[in-house]
């Protein structure tokens, strides 16, 4: 490229930057211009605007073709302002550009380093706060690099960032178009590069088509030109959009396909007399085409890294590969390709989430809230200068000085809190998994209250009223349809449990790294003990409800003091869990009768206190739970505050131990200070907030294309949106999509319209959220949440009635804030990682110790201690071993002999039961799970299985069942 082709563009951008300096202070600029014209300007004392005026004059001379002494002025500037800070730096940078331009013929090639000089000028402009000028300089750099596409991405990125910061729509459109051109030009065969090109083009289509006048045509042409050549089929559905707009603008359009119908704008402002239905029909039509775009996008997304369903111990979210990019809507949950398996996956994971909304979850939250406080304090005890330096260095975690006791103690407290959280999880994993597996077959549970899993499962479908001709729509008909839908959910669950239940047990029992079999047999042993004690065949579903209640609200007594050192805490957590299970197995008949009639006499909700169930008012329950949470936080805060916590540094009187104990004492003393009490209270409040957030369970998420028809107050506004509700439809031919048309109140639509105009992105986010907190209803309640930037809108369709729970017009709405914190939490403004993943934290500790150099004395011993703890956190085998150990303790506490307990905890089902007998063993487990069985089939199977070594069944008065837990540990 010769300079002449781009010289004017360069000079224009330089002129704009210099003008921007002058525009900061127009009176000063006028005064300087007058001095300049009169030849009276004193550059030695002139403010930047004086130099800017000179720069503009130089640009003018160059534009007229006159030689301009840019180099001389540059050296004068350097002499006058050797430090070249702020605006002077920008002026120097643009003079560098002018020097190059002035020294090159227009017929000569563009100087090699001109793009770099322009980039310097862009950075200088940004450095002195001239965002728009910086953006235009980046555009200039982008244009200068036209012949080297691989170098254009960075200026395009910078340009887009600056344009968005400026908020100027025309700049944003231009930068987005440049970004699309850059990504399309460098896209190759790799999926990642194609995805980047697709997403850049999608955004460009959105923003370019929203531009006005000739700019739209120019930008659209630039993007369409970039599409020429190579295999760009994956972009053609998107390109069709641009082609349509070019046609509308009267331009000749290259091949891109697409029909003749005009494409609707994302946001249509309707007048009072507009035909709303035609506009909405147009939107629905467009969304049908958008489904092709959505499919193209889906095909480019990377393979999923989530391969199985799981629940998180700490934030109580459910992760499922089928719902990473799809949201259950209507009855899609029941109709998708692998609906049976997904249904049981959800039951399994919901059982985990439900189990954690209780004492175990509170203990983990107390540890986490304390860790958050520790880490936060570790940041805030530093000076502002230090924090700024860390921020500039991109630090995510605070540095550790291995010679400073305060750093070592603070780090160890953090590691201890992590290790205790792990210990609690590992101790309870077998029980949790056993309960969840058992719950998969609890399909005939009563929907009694918020504890019940069936009530949560029903939140995965939306009730859609069918209006049948000739049938009156009265209360009875509504109820009939409502009941029919939920009966259908229950029936599907039963069908899934009966048809693939054995396969699921088989699959879980074949996993050796997690003790599913031991946990399942432990749970079953407890249920069998209850049946034997009451002398009646309690159904599996009824027993499951009781177990879930006990796991939630009776486990507080099994959790050790959270202040203990992690090694002692781990041992006590395992022993506490096993003893607790034995106590539950041995519950007296009276307690069981209370637990088995959860509705009771209506005198209050079921609660657990002093080892027995009782009924108390819900308000009192909440107060007690809050008190327990406070106690737990207080315990966790006392981590490493006792002199005995430092006993591992040596025998009594050892100088290391004495010194470390002093540090622990100081920490303990500090904890009692008013300031620390304040922090403890804050941590308690944070824990309560997290508990509340945890009771909002997201299931499914999708980015959805949309159109908004925004009417005046007297006209209904409509949001039309295409939501992917399953990645694999029942026919296995691809994803399935619901096109929804949501009526929006005027204020809601106005808030959305404002956001659309500010952001111009083509998708909004849709999430299904289940409220388990009883905030919106007495039972679990499903919400459809729509989010676009700051706009959040939540509705519920349960009961056939659309209820708007968050109307999107008030960002301060408390439920909107909860939803935002749960689904889209704000990152730390400094980019610091206040609550990192355990492995990230452990690696950081090791790295810091490695970087800290040699230490001696207590610092050396303490460093070794920290390293050992960090390595324990990272050791891959540590947690599975602890989990199997806990499973073995659990079975022994329930009466299994040590050898059998060990075998059941360590070995896969396949090694315990011969292949020919596995099906029978699984069927026997499932049949007796529902209720004890007294029939020939089990007579034969159970005896045969026992003869072959799988001796877990026992015949009692009620029939065959899993061997009841005795509550007495056996050697």
């Amino acid at each position: 490229m010769v300079l002449g082709a781009i010289r004017d563009d360069v000079l224009l951008r330089v002129m704009q930057a210099l003008r921007a300096i002058g525009d900061r202070d127009p009176p000063a600029r006028a005064s300087v211009e007058e001095q300049f014209r009169a030849g009276k300007i004193n550059l030695a004392t002139s403010p930047p605007v004086g130099w800017a005026v000179i720069g503009e004059a130089l640009v003018g001379e160059l534009a007229r073709g006159s030689p301009a002494p840019a180099a001389r002025w540059l050296s004068l500037l350097r002499a006058a302002h050797p430090d070249l800070a702020g605006d002077y730096a920008l002026i120097a940078a643009v003079l560098e550009v002018l020097v190059l331009v002035a020294g090159t013929d227009t017929d000569s090639a563009v100087p090699d380093d001109l793009a770099e000089r322009v980039a310097d000028a862009a950075r200088a402009a940004e450095g002195c706060g001239l965002v728009e000028a910086a953006c235009r300089m980046q555009l200039c750099q982008f244009n200068l690099r036209a012949e080297t596409p691989h170098t254009r991405l960075e200026p395009a990125k910078q340009m887009l960032r600056l344009a968005e910061a400026s908020g100027r729509a025309e700049l944003i459109a231009e930068a987005t178009a440049a970004m699309a051109v850059a990504q399309i030009q460098i896209a190759d065969e790799t999926q990642a590069s194609r995805l980047a090109a697709f997403e850049a083009l999608e955004l460009a289509v959105e923003r370019v088509t929203a531009a006005e006048g000739p700019a739209r045509t120019k930008l659209a042409q630039s993007v369409v030109r970039a599409l020429a050549g190579g295999d760009k089929r994956y972009l053609m559905n998107l390109a069709a959009h641009l082609a349509r707009f070019l046609r509308e603008d009267g331009e000749a359009v290259p091949r891109t396909g697409g029909g003749a119908q005009p494409w609707p704008a994302r946001l249509v402002r309707m007048g009072a007399t507009d035909e709303g239905s035609a506009i909405i029909q147009g939107h629905i039509w467009a969304l049908r085409h958008d489904m092709d775009i959505d499919r193209d996008h889906l095909s480019l997304l990377p393979s999923k890294t989530v391969l199985n369903a799981s629940a998180d111990w700490l934030d109580w979210t459910l992760s499922h590969p089928a719902y990473l990019r799809a949201v259950p809507l209507g009855t899609s949950f029941l109709d998708e390709r692998h609906a049976r398996g997904h249904l049981l996956d959800v039951v399994h994971e919901v059982t985990h989430v439900r189990s954690l909304l209780g004492h175990l979850g509170m203990a983990l939250t107390a540890l986490r809230a304390t860790l958050h406080d520790r880490r936060f304090q570790d940041w805030t005890r530093r000076s502002l200068e230090e924090l700024q330096a860390l921020h500039r260095a991109g630090a995510k975690a605070p540095p550790i000085d291995p010679t400073k006791g305060a750093d070592l103690l603070c780090t160890e407290v953090s590691l201890e809190l992590v290790l205790k959280a792990h210990a609690l999880q590992d101790a309870w994993l077998a029980w949790m998994e056993g309960l969840a597996l058992f719950g998969e077959a609890a399909f005939d549970s009563e929907v009694q209250d918020v504890y019940s899993v069936p009530a949560i499962l029903r939140c995965l479908v939306d009730f859609q009223l069918e209006r049948k001709e000739g049938r009156a729509l009265d209360e009875a008909e509504l109820q009939r349809q409502f009941t029919a839908l939920f009966d259908d959910v229950d029936r599907r669950w039963q069908d899934a449990a009966e048809s693939i239940g054995p396969d699921r047990l088989r699959n879980a029992f074949s996993v050796t790294e997690t003790p599913y079999l031991a946990g399942y047999l432990a749970v079953r042993g407890v249920v069998a003990a209850w049946r034997a004690r009451l002398g009646r065949p309690i159904t599996g579903s009824a027993a499951f409800q009781v177990l879930l209640f006990l796991t939630r609200l009776a486990t507080g007594e099994a959790i050790p003091n959270l202040a203990l050192r992690s090694d002692r805490f781990a041992a006590e957590a395992e022993a506490g869990m096993a003893a607790w299970a034995a106590r539950m197995a041995a519950l007296p008949s009276e307690a069981l009768e209370v637990l088995l009639s959860p509705g009771g006499d209506g005198s209050g909700a079921l609660f657990w206190r002093d080892g027995a169930p009782l009924r108390i008012p819900i308000k009192e329950q909440s107060a007690l739970a809050e008190q327990l949470q406070r106690e737990m936080v207080a315990q966790a805060f006392r981590t490493l505050t006792d002199a005995d916590d430092m006993a591992h540094f040596g025998p009594d009187g050892h100088p290391h131990r004495v010194h470390a104990a002093q540090w622990a004492g100081m920490l303990g003393e500090a904890q009692r200070s008013e300031d620390r009490q304040k922090h403890e209270n804050e941590a308690h409040e944070r824990a309560l907030e997290w508990l509340q957030l945890g009771s909002f369970l997201p299931v499914g998420q999708a980015d959805a294309r949309y159109y908004l028809a925004f009417g005046p107050p007297e006209v209904d506004s409509r949001l039309s949106v295409a939501v992917r509700n399953a990645e694999e439809n029942r026919e296995g031919t691809g994803p399935s999509v619901d096109i929804l048309s949501l009526p929006l109140p005027h204020a809601t639509a106005a808030a959305l319209a404002e956001e659309i105009e500010a952001r111009r992105v083509p998708r909004l986010q849709v999430v299904r959220l289940i409220d388990l907190s009883t905030r919106t209803a007495r039972v679990p309640w499903p919400l459809q949440v729509y989010r676009y930037g700051k706009w959040i809108y939540a509705i519920s369709l349960t009961g056939g009635i659309r209820r708007t729970l968050v109307d999107g017009s008030d960002p301060e709405d408390p439920l909107a804030q909860i939803i935002r914190s749960r689904l889209w939490p704000e990152p730390d403004p400094f980019g610091f990682d206040v609550l990192p993943q355990a492995d990230v934290m452990a690696r950081h500790v090791i790295d810091e110790l490695d970087a800290g150099g040699e230490t001696e004395g207590l610092a050396e011993a303490w460093g070794m201690q920290l390293r050992g703890q960090a390595e324990r956190i990272l050791a891959p085998s540590r947690r599975p071993e602890a989990q199997r150990s806990a499973a073995c303790s659990l079975l022994m506490a329930l009466g299994h002999p040590a050898e059998r307990a060990s075998t059941l905890s360590d070995q896969a089902f396949g090694t315990l039961v011969g292949a020919a007998d596995r099906r029978d063993a699984l069927q026997s487990l499932l049949r007796t799970g529902t209720a004890p069985c007294d029939d020939d089939w089990l007579d034969q199977r159970a005896a045969k299985l026992a003869a072959k070594g799988f001796d877990v069944f026992e015949r009692r008065t009620l029939g065959w069942d899993v061997r009841p837990a005795t509550g007495e540990a056996r050697p």
Partner: protein
Amino acid sequence: VTLLLLATRRGLHDAALAAANALAAEPPLPAGRMNAPRLDDVKAWVTRLWDTAVGAIETAWEEGAAAAKSLVERFGEELRELRTSFAEGAAAVSEMVAERLAEYARNLTRNLLRQFEGELTLADRRFEVRGITVQQRIKMTGSLKASLNDLCSLVSEGEINISASYAV
């Protein structure tokens, strides 16, 4: 020409089974979470059929081919059920089960043949093997049931007959 009998041992059967099972190895479950192990229709059917097939082989090993007959029949019934109730995935399931059966057979025969001595010393004279012929045939054909039947026969006999030719 010498006719040799190579006896199968439990260890060889277990090793062959482990090799076949290894074809189904999956990545470990994510650590630190409460997982529901992945299970789709294909995996469920493969496991179900494979359990029956292994049950038949183990029964044949322990009690003879006749005792395994009912499990081979059950295997056939399950294959029929697969084709009717999961037609769209039947081919994939069958292929995976066939792979495991083939791996089992391959591993077992390979390890059996490893016992074979490449040279013999008789009356102070050394004979080196020139060629061998395995007498049994295991048909790993399109019929999974037939393949399983053949495997059951092989393991129930507990030996493999080999004709080997040696020369000085």
